[in-house]
Amino acid sequence: MSRSTMIHDAFETAADLATATHSQRWTPGLGAVAQSEIFASSREGSGVGAALALALDAWRCRPREEGEEAEDRRAVVWVQTRAAVKAGGRPFRAGLPPEIRNRLIHVLAERDEDALFALEEAVRCRDVAFVIGEVVGSPRALDFTASRRLTLAAEKHGVPLTLVRLDGTRDLSSARQRWAVRSAPSAKPQWNWQAPGVPAWQAELFRARSHPPGVWRLSEDAGKLVSERYVPLPVRGEDTKVWSRSGLAEVGEGRTEASNAASPSPGSASSFGASVAILSPDGERVLG
């Protein structure tokens, strides 16, 4: 087992789990988890963009075995259902991250069951670096059993899986990390302020096994994932948990905005109007 190290996510005892949970904040570079889910709208490319950025970040920071010097040239598998292709298109080679351009294998599945089969086969393959899946909505086939099956297979064979759920609802799942991602305004390029810049996303980690939830602004900078945390506001009479689940969404740099009612989270209605924050330029919250 030179390559396929197990993903060490399993906790030894319940006590470990209890103490470890919510102990450490998520940051880039923490390594891969067996299965993560990313919820995004099918009307934008943010879901797969963020999935690739997170997976590539984990892949770059993967633990190297002793004496493992060779470059990792394993394939990257991208599974799409027909519905996902119809909604958001197929991968375009010239626009892919340069590291995976020439080793991408694309799988087109007609049905959701076929996509799940392909995903499971992909995580069981030792010549695969990581797997991206793209399904639309909340298919009946993707119930908790199927999700658990994928997580266990990924954990056993050490191939991380990132499942992008386009327009999905946050149903039951065994994913180790669950994100809700939407596009964020990009940073201005140095030479042309009018042009769109390096992609940025607003990513909300709303369920993770070993991290507390939070909201980050993710973007790629010089081949590295950089994150900038939105500091949640303690709102009187509101549970922080509810707050963090509420798609706090529109909190941008130096801007004041109210949460969008279109957020798919069920908790958003209760916290509507509460999610107002102003970030000072150095990232500190100044006003709640």
């Binding site: 009307r43 626009g95 294998i105 694309h106 069981r124 010549d127 596009s183």
Partner: protein
């Protein structure tokens, strides 16, 4: 202009005889080589002489004559069947070996080698010393050679075969003048063409220039085969037209190695390392669908010694336990010295061995499946077109610039993407029509409606104009002006305007959304 190339041509003047002598392991002119001996090939009219040794040549045997004719001159001549296939095999090995003088070598069958020594001569102390080194190395191996260096392969070949030995044609020399004294046979022409030239009275390279190019052009009309056209060969010789050469590529042999953190001195540790190596090697062999017939185990000791152990197997195998057990018997007498720091296992001889179906599930449970097995399973269930990978295709139109190929096919050669092109992450199968508010005729887009929603455009870059491919598309195809846009919510798209107002190819331009950026 790029500096001229330097090509080293080596002619193994008596290659077949030298090789025969090496297999007989006798020195030149000694033992079996002292008697007249010829190598023959079987032809429709009986055996014909393909190569002669010095003694046979002295007694009158010539290459190309029938063996029966040679026997009348010298009844004692001994005939041995030649081995052209073996000669070619040896020549290939020599071509790879000859890369010690240059990064690139090509075969020049039946008995020559071409090596590119551009900008490497200084490593040997100049071209004259490089040639001396070549002579010395081939002499040690028992091959008689002639070698020359020239700016083109044609000139180097001509000098090796017909010029003075060890001649060097410097880049600043007048090639035409230096080579004009060589016979026309130095042009690598076919026999019949040489006959025609001889009948025309053209014997030297210099004389070809006296006739006039037009006359030769009319006389030799075959432009396809350079060997039939003296003008093409002359141009190749002088470097006026390029001559493609096929380099020899050494075969990659499966090779695995372990660099050890601490030098090991004990047998048990070595067995563990060997077990790991065998498992790695088996996986490597499984990937290329081969089984090992011969395995070389090399142990690098700390003090610089290398211990080699070779294992030959009766049949192609991929069983790690089998390999470990067989090697274990050969490792008993190894002196580890101060320790072994690097262990390498190489399958120097491998034969095709199809994957065994019986234990595929068990192996998959333990190590995961191989990529080929993964692709096989998916194509069986989802169909052959479901598993593919994107490759580049030579077109500027985005949807045509990418083709889908089976995942394990070798990638076709293509020009890389241009760095300054910013392209979307995903491309819609069909570009979707959008309604755009913009200033005609070619202003920046300001607002658009796509799938029922209105997007306010906050930032825009463009246009990048992609013209229709007139050699393929109909005349009514319109140009496209692409814009990368970001709307007020940060969503990034790739849209284009199809046509421009007043281009005479239709009415008002339409807008399409083609790609979704990350």
């Amino acid at each position: 202009m790029a500096p001229p190339r330097r090509i080293l041509s080596i002619w193994l003047a008596a290659f077949a005889i030298d090789r025969w002598r090496l297999t007989e392991s006798c020195a030149r002119g000694q033992g079996a080589d002292a008697q007249p001996l010829v190598l023959i090939t079987e032809t429709a009219h009986g055996p014909r002489i393909a190569a002669t040794n010095n003694a046979a040549r002295a007694s009158g045997a010539r290459i190309g004559t029938m063996l029966a004719d040679a026997r009348t001159l010298c009844p004692s001549v001994q005939a041995v069947p030649g081995d052209p296939a073996g000669d070619l095999d040896m020549l290939e090995k020599l071509a790879v070996w000859a890369r010690r003088w240059g990064p690139w070598s090509a075969l020049d069958p039946p008995d020559g080698l071409l090596i590119d020594v551009t900008a490497v001569a200084h490593l040997f102390g100049g071209e004259a010393k490089l040639l001396a080194d070549v002579h010395r190395a081939f002499d040690t191996r028992g091959f008689a050679i002639r070698a020359a260096i020239a700016p083109t392969a044609g000139a180097a070949w001509a000098l090796t075969h017909y010029g003075p030995d060890r001649s060097i044609l410097a880049p600043q020399d007048d090639m035409e003048a230096r080579l004009s004294g060589l016979p026309v046979a130095a042009l690598r022409l076919d026999e019949d063409v040489l006959t025609v030239l001889r009948r025309l009275g053209l014997k030297r390279l210099g004389e070809l220039g006296t006739v006039g190019r037009d006359a030769l052009h009319r006389r030799f009309r075959n432009r396809k085969s350079p060997a039939a056209n003296p003008l093409v060969r002359m141009d190749q010789l002088l470097g006026r037209v390029p001559e493609p050469l096929l380099p020899v590529v050494p075969q990659q042999v499966p090779l695995v190695q372990r660099r050890l953190m601490e030098p090991i001195r004990h047998r048990t540790l070595l067995d563990t390392v060997l077990g790991d190596l065998a498992a790695d090697m088996v996986r490597e062999l499984e990937g290329v669908g081969q089984g090992a017939r011969r395995l070389d185990l090399a142990l690098w000791r700390v003090d610089g010694e290398v211990v080699m152990r070779t294992l030959e197997l009766a049949g192609a195998t991929r069983d790690p336990a089998h390999i470990v057990r067989l090697f274990g018997e050969k490792l008993g007498d190894i002196d580890a010295g101060f320790g072994i720091e690097l262990v390498r296992l190489r399958a120097s001889w491998a034969e095709p061995l199809p994957t065994n179906q019986a234990d595929i599930e068990v192996a998959a449970e333990r190590h995961g499946t191989a990529l080929s097995a993964f692709v096989d399973r998916l194509t069986t269930r989802l169909g052959p077109k479901a598993v593919r990978r994107p490759v580049l295709r030579g077109s500027h139109v985005p949807e045509r610039s990418q083709a889908w190929r089976p995942p394990l096919d070798p990638e076709p050669p293509s020009q890389d993407e241009l760095r300054f092109h910013a392209r979307p992450l995903k491309l819609l199968d069909r570009a979707e029509r959008i309604a755009v508010l913009y200033a005609t005729p070619d202003g920046l887009p300001q607002r658009f409606r796509w799938r029922g929603d209105v997007h306010e455009i906050a930032r825009v870059e463009g246009p990048e104009r992609i013209a229709p491919e007139w050699w393929r598309e109909r005349g009514t195809a319109r140009l496209r002006d692409y814009y990368r846009i970001e709307d007020d919510a940060g969503r990034r798209y790739w849209i284009y305007r199809y046509g421009i107002a007043g281009d005479g190819r239709g009415g008002a331009p339409e807008w399409f959304l083609q790609g979704l950026c990350a």
